[in-house]
């Protein structure tokens, strides 16, 4: 049926058209809880057909949720009319040629068939796991199919699932967070996450205020997720690099040699289709190899600008350009297989505890919040800590700390010599903003610039 829809659109276009059509069908359900009960519970089915058309040197894009014959005909007519009136597009890079895919996505039937009761059960287990503390958060399931065709003969199809459980426990003004995501329902354990969030909240009572300054830090995976996401959005996209707005300089040793960063939408369990909106198959790329920036993500347009090849990272919103959405931050030595265990106290797990054990004096950070870029070239970010911060002394968290504001260049925090420890276990976490799935370990960093307390 999806293929018929794509043909119906392509068949209505005039001779000489270069066109690509993507049909996305998504069943999204999200059960939200606050004050320890479900207060918002939603589901929707969204079907969108997107047409990008290049004709007579001009380009236009249209989309519709009206996927009957009339809606598709109107989409084609509207886009043809638009392209004829558009200014020339001299940078048009052409369509993706026919190429085989290396996968069709990961589907977990339990996610694809998840019911409101299934999500409520996970929420209940989180709430129960928190042992009576006030809780809030959400459980999300998503089942997405994507079908692609272009007039150059490329076609592709995929199906994928994603499940997320994300929550906080609250006690006397202290919050603790725990979250996990994956392609399968079995990736989520509400009781474990609820208990972990509660342990953090209990350990956060009566926080002290630390003076601003530079501190050694242990960032838990939930905080590292923000660091990697910002590197991705502002740094590793071909457009930002081509326009010299990015910190990334290919060939330079910009990060600590202990770190490598890989993007791989074809890895088992990866979220999202193994091809981009231009139909280019995604492939594994190593963006940072032992600290050396080694590649950036390209779509066809940004690749053409530098005489390269698309890496399969085009996104529907062309404004920001290509973005890698399946990043993994990992140890460069390849020792990435450990499975941490639950531990008592505020640290997320045994891996974090091992990193904390090496710190004489520093700060343990659970989460970042509201991080915004001050300058994309240096990737100086400002933001706040959230959901649990502790002072570390002599290898142990000794006192909860009030939230602090930081103003910090992320690449500078990861510069050569600045990474004092890297967890072996990557935790899969999704973004609330874009459909991404990042795998991140905990990090111990030599210096983080806290510029103020949350109270002043």
């Amino acid at each position: 049926m999806n293929g018929d829809v794509l043909s119906m659109v392509l068949d209505q276009l005039p001779a000489g058209s270069e066109a690509e059509v993507v049909m996305t069908r998504e069943e999204l359900a999200l059960t939200r809880f606050a004050n320890s009960h479900i207060h918002q519970n939603v589901a929707d089915i969204a079907v969108t057909v997107r047409l990008r058309l290049h004709l007579d040197g001009r380009t236009a894009t249209g989309s519709t949720t009206l996927v009957g014959p009339d809606g598709l005909r109107q989409l084609a007519e509207r886009t043809v009319a638009a392209v004829r009136l558009s200014p020339p597009d001299p940078g048009w890079p052409g369509l993706a040629p026919p190429r085989e895919l290396s996968g069709t996505g990961t589907v977990d039937d339990a996610v694809a068939r998840a019911t409101p009761d299934d999500r409520a059960s996970l929420v209940a287990s989180f709430v129960d796991g928190a042992g009576g503390l006030t809780t809030a958060g959400y459980c999300r399931t998503r089942y997405t199919t994507v079908t692609f065709a272009n007039s150059a003969g490329q076609s592709a199809a995929s199906a994928g699932t994603e499940a997320v459980l994300d929550g906080i426990a609250r006690l006397g003004g202290a919050d603790g967070a725990a979250r996990r995501s994956g392609a399968s329902m079995s990736d989520l354990d509400g009781a474990v996450l609820g208990a972990r969030a509660a342990a953090k909240a209990r350990a956060g009572a009566e926080p002290v205020e630390l003076p601003p300054g530079r501190y050694q830090v242990v960032l838990e995976p939930t905080a590292v997720h923000d660091v990697l996401r910002c590197l991705s959005i502002y740094g590793f996209g071909g457009r930002a690099v081509n326009e010299r707005r990015s910190f990334a300089r290919v060939g330079e040793a910009q990060l600590d040699p202990a770190l490598s960063i890989v993007d791989d939408a074809t890895a088992p369990g990866a979220v999202g289709p193994p091809f981009d909106v231009e139909g280019t198959p995604k492939r594994r790329i190593e963006l940072v190899s032992a600290g050396v920036t080694s590649a950036v993500a390209h779509d066809r347009r940004t690749a053409a600008e530098v005489g390269g090849q698309s890496t399969g990272h085009a996104v529907a919103d062309d404004y920001a350009g290509p973005i890698p959405l399946n990043l993994r931050l990992q140890r460069a030595d390849g020792d990435n297989a450990a499975v941490p265990s639950e531990v008592d106290g505020p640290v997320a797990d045994s891996e974090v505890a091992d990193l904390v054990a090496g710190v004489d004096r520093g700060v343990l950070v659970t989460d970042h919040w509201y991080t915004r870029v001050l300058d994309p070239r240096t990737l100086v970010m400002t933001g706040l800590t959230r959901n649990g911060v502790w002072l570390i002394e002599d290898g142990k968290p000794v006192a909860p700390v009030r939230n602090m504001r930081f103003t910090q260049s992320y690449p500078e925090a990861l510069r050569p010599g600045a990474v004092l420890g890297t967890g072996r276990h990557g935790v899969t976490l999704s973004s609330s903003y874009e459909s991404s799935s990042l795998v991140v370990p905990a990090l111990r960093l030599a210096s983080w610039n806290f510029t103020g307390g949350a109270s002043g």
Partner: protein, 478 residues
């Protein structure tokens, strides 16, 4: 079958499946945007979407279901699914939920629109962006960007209480920016605002902006910023232009007075609020010059409508009066929970999303001063304008905002341009330090307000003057 018929079918199906209240929105939206870089069009996008969203209350549990299909069968199934989801909410139950009682309304509303923006030829719109960005690029901007966006939304709302409301809302706007790229940093100047100016108006809004007339200036200023002195680190007098004031109001007042945040409904994501309901009517938010009004009736402002997405008619209300906190942004269920007798600030960003508490137009009433007077009466300070970055904590208390440009103010005169100006503060302390307020109000529009899970993008308006603040910490750097 009319759109109202479709909505009513969905409502009746939800009631038949056990709901004690239900409402439904049929929505049809057309969207168009164009962007240009350095004198070339980069993207033209035209979208159309239509669908139905149904909200059902079973016991004290809410459920919502949406489909991109406005047929009879789909509407009936959607109503049933919404009630089933609401029933599942009862598995992790909370306190009794109900809706504050308000008069049932029927009616139609549309905003004024002199020039239908979707009828303006694409070639005209394209020429505007190509010309303005080309000019800025020729003038020395490494990256000159321009964009416009148009939304044309029709919606039909019906509830089990008898609401029957249809609205046609047309919004548009645009802007340009010039970025200069140095070896170690970038500098940007925008016009008329970061991301542009938007409103519930027709293309006349964009015409009035005269984007091309400002392209060369912003290019010059972006380049000049690369070599301008750094904004010093100090505690000083700060004058904020009206564009930055819109951001200040949005982040440190608008979100803080959202009742769902105050009640803890957003605790895990958007956050809560430093405001405590027990202090409503008895808390000093700012100086006596501070009068914040929630008013969805402001002609042409981006947060304007005739009725919110629960069918409550637009009405003004003070949120802060003479510096005292007196009102909130509320919906019918949150108001009931809080013991309030008003609502009117619930909206969704489309048929597929649950209506929730959102800002409408949240603005600051004008004061007695002019910008010239504020500068003339400042012996030592900094003037900042045009938002560049924004970050605020989850209680909407501790903020750090960055602007595109700053200027020294010395002995009552504007001095040197300053680069990377930032300022930081704590909401109520900051607002209590406001001692001068301009008499000129600009209705800035914010088309990108994120909130909710799944994520929703809201359109808000912020009519505001420029203002002066005392003893503000500026120049925070990494």
């Amino acid at each position: 079958m009319s759109e109202f018929d479709t909505a009513i079918v969905a409502v009746e199906a939800a009631l038949a499946a056990g709901a004690r209240y239900a409402d439904a929105r049929v929505m049809h939206r057309r969207y168009e945007s164009m962007s240009a870089r350095n004198g070339e069009i980069r993207e033209l996008m035209q979208d159309e979407d239509a669908g139905l969203g149904v909200r059902a209350l079973v016991g004290s549990g809410w459920g919502f279901f949406a489909v991109p299909d406005v047929g009879d069968a789909a509407a009936r199934a959607a109503g049933t699914r919404a009630a089933e989801i609401a029933t599942a909410s009862g598995r992790v139950p909370g306190p009794a939920a109900d809706l504050v009682r308000l008069p049932v309304r029927s009616g139609s509303w549309a905003n004024d629109c002199a020039v239908d923006p979707l009828e303006v030829p694409l070639s005209v719109k394209g020429d505007l962006l190509v010309g303005a960005t080309g000019l800025a690029h020729d003038q020395g901007a490494d990256l000159a960007e321009g964009t416009y966006q148009i939304w044309d939304t029709r919606k039909w709302f019906a509830s089990s209480e008898g609401h029957r409301i249809d609205q046609h809302i047309r919004e548009c706007g645009g802007g340009i920016s010039a970025t200069a790229i140095g070896e170690d940093e970038t500098q940007r100047r925008s016009y008329p605002s970061y991301r542009g100016q938007y409103g519930t108006r027709g293309w006349e809004l964009v015409d009035e902006l005269d984007l091309g007339g400002h392209a060369a200036r912003i290019a010059d200023e972006a380049r000049a910023l690369l070599t301008a002195p750094q904004c010093p680190a100090a505690e000083t007098t700060l004058i904020l232009g009206d564009e930055q004031m819109a951001l200040q109001i949005h982040e440190s007042v608008g979100h803080a007075i959202e009742l769902d945040r105050i009640l803890g409904w957003e605790a895990a994501y958007a956050g809560t609020s430093w405001l405590d309901l027990t202090r409503l009517g008895n808390l000093t938010y700012g100086s006596e010059l501070m009068n914040i009004v929630i008013d969805p009736r402001v002609p042409g402002a981006l947060g304007s409508f005739g009725f919110d997405d629960e069918g409550t008619p637009a009405a003004p209300r003070y949120a802060v009066q003479n510096g005292q906190w007196v009102g909130v942004l509320a919906g019918r269920d949150s108001a009931m929970m809080a013991g309030l007798d008003y609502a009117g600030s619930v909206r969704s960003d489309g048929w597929a999303r649950l209506p929730m508490v959102r800002m409408t137009n949240v603005g600051l009433e004008p004061g007695p001063h002019s910008m010239d007077e504020m500068i003339a009466q400042t012996r030592d300070g900094v003037f900042m304008d045009m938002n560049r970055s924004w970050s605020i904590d989850d209680r909407r208390l501790n903020f750090q905002f960055g602007c595109e440009v700053g200027y020294e103010v010395k002995d009552g005169r504007l001095g040197r341009m300053l680069r990377n100006p930032t300022y930081t503060g704590i909401g109520p302390r900051f607002w209590q330090s406001m001692d001068m307020l301009s008499s000129t109000v600009v209705p800035w529009g914010t088309p990108n307000c994120g909130k909710g899970q799944p994520s929703q993008v809201g359109h808000t308006g912020h009519p505001t003057p420029a203002a002066r603040f005392r003893n503000v910490r500026i120049g925070v750097r990494g």
